[in-house]
Amino acid sequence: MPPAAESLLDVGADFPILARRLNGRPLIYLDSGATSQKPEVVIEALAGHLRAHNANVHRGVYPLAQEADAAFEGARARIAAFTGARPETTIFTKNVTEAINLVAYAWGRAHVGAGDAVLITQMEHHANIVPWQVLCRERGATLRYLEVDERGELSLEGLDAELARGDVRLVAFAHVSNVLGTINPVAEMTARVRAAGAVSLVDGAQAVPQLAVDVERLGADFYAWTGHKALGPTGIGVLHGRREILERMEPFLTGGDMIASVDFQGATWNELPWKFEAGTPMVAEAVGLGAAVEYLESLGMDRVRAHDRQLTAHLLESLARVPGLRVVGPPEAERRGGLASFTIEGLHPHDVAELVAREGVCIRAGHHCAQPLMRCLGVGATARASVSVYNQASDIDALVGSLLAAREVFALDAA
């Protein structure tokens, strides 16, 4: 049963790209987990800033520079409020990868030593694996993995057992898995991590575009997310950090803008958050992301979540009708974000993505930058469909139709 249309958002018209065609057919975009499309208000905010208010920030005396400052810091305040954070503990980075590297370098190198452990999970994106591998190798520390069970979920008992070993300094995990879709119990996990005297880092790349995220309530010491998956521009990510921790940290990148003063031999650091923002920041992108969160707030994050959950339920039901198709991750829509990764017997995910694209349907195929997880699942790759506010039930119906057509091209029913 498709969800009742009136219970879904109907905002496709706000996204100019959805008017274009692909392979002669209407564009059906089901790859928002890779990057979301952008509403007109974001495109306009970005372009409008460059057209009318562009100047460098934090250094100009003239009124145009003050406008740029106000736009940039105003966007920070809006973005911080959107995720329940304070502006001074909301650091702009290039993306989640850079945010995690910031923590791995600036916090990790001061606090993780020989004999210590960093705990991550089997469901992490490479962005939340490789920086910890490098840190552990450099410091003589151990990298351990919390297991994913057959439902695609983590176990709190498993976390307790790992923390009880007493050597864990940091626990890093995804809020929402980009492959399984699993929504992890962040607040329960961060509370346990804190009680064990360790620090938590949450990768919110897939979570912020679809869940109402309140970083204070989630209790994460670090929470990273990215603009381009949340209807904003590329080139801007966000790291929220706990103030006491950020204040004691040394900077990550150094240079202009992050200093209080510089003499011939040394320098002192700027205040938060600028201590962690070396060089001219991504001003227009911040303004664009500010517009994106304003747009999401206008829709209401509870409605966004309800929309995604209903579409995901429809996605799971519809995929179940395709012969030979297996979905990975939790079977219930309420336990997952708006995506489903799947395999089809006899049809490689690459070929699936190629064939459905002929019908104008865009889905992702590959290892989704989660090769260790792929190994756990016993597959080399999966196809993944992911939804956002602009999708409708008909997009999923088109996907399923194109999947059935793909099976025919491969003559899977004849065999």
Partner: protein, 126 residues
């Protein structure tokens, strides 16, 4: 008929020739397609500076598996010097389908593996 997934491509995909292990073998290599994590390895038996026999193993999409299967039939009997001189055009022509930029590495993975085993050069065929 489908332009890309032609009957012979699907035939080679579903029933790949010269797939499996070859023991003993003289040369071997294993490569990954970074795009998708697909894995393809080769075992080669050499006699008088020629490929006497070879077997591919691994997993991949229809394009990469069919390319390996089709190439395997051509590679048998080829001299090592000839193999070292094979380029991307050889493989694309042999495959006989329009390969888009995004699927190019799928088509060329097997040649990368074979050339790696024979010459030690693990670069993508140009």
């Amino acid at each position: 008929m489908d332009d890309l997934y032609r009957d012979y491509i699907l035939d080679h995909y579903k029933q790949p020739r010269n797939f499996g292990e070859l023991d003993p073998h003289d040369l071997e290599a294993l490569e990954h397609n970074p795009l998708c994590g697909d894995e393809l390895g080769v075992h080669i038996r050499v006699r008088d500076e020629r490929i006497e026999d070879l077997r591919f193993h691994g997993h991949g999409c229809a394009i990469s598996q069919a390319a390996a299967s089709i190439a395997s039939e051509e590679l048998k009997g080829m001299s090592l010097a000839e193999v070292g001189a094979l380029d991307a055009d050889w493989m694309i022509d042999l495959l006989g389908i329009p390969v888009s930029a995004t699927r190019r590495k799928c088509a060329l993975l097997n040649l990368k593996v074979v050339r790696g085993a024979v010459t030690g050069d693990h670069a993508w065929p140009a």
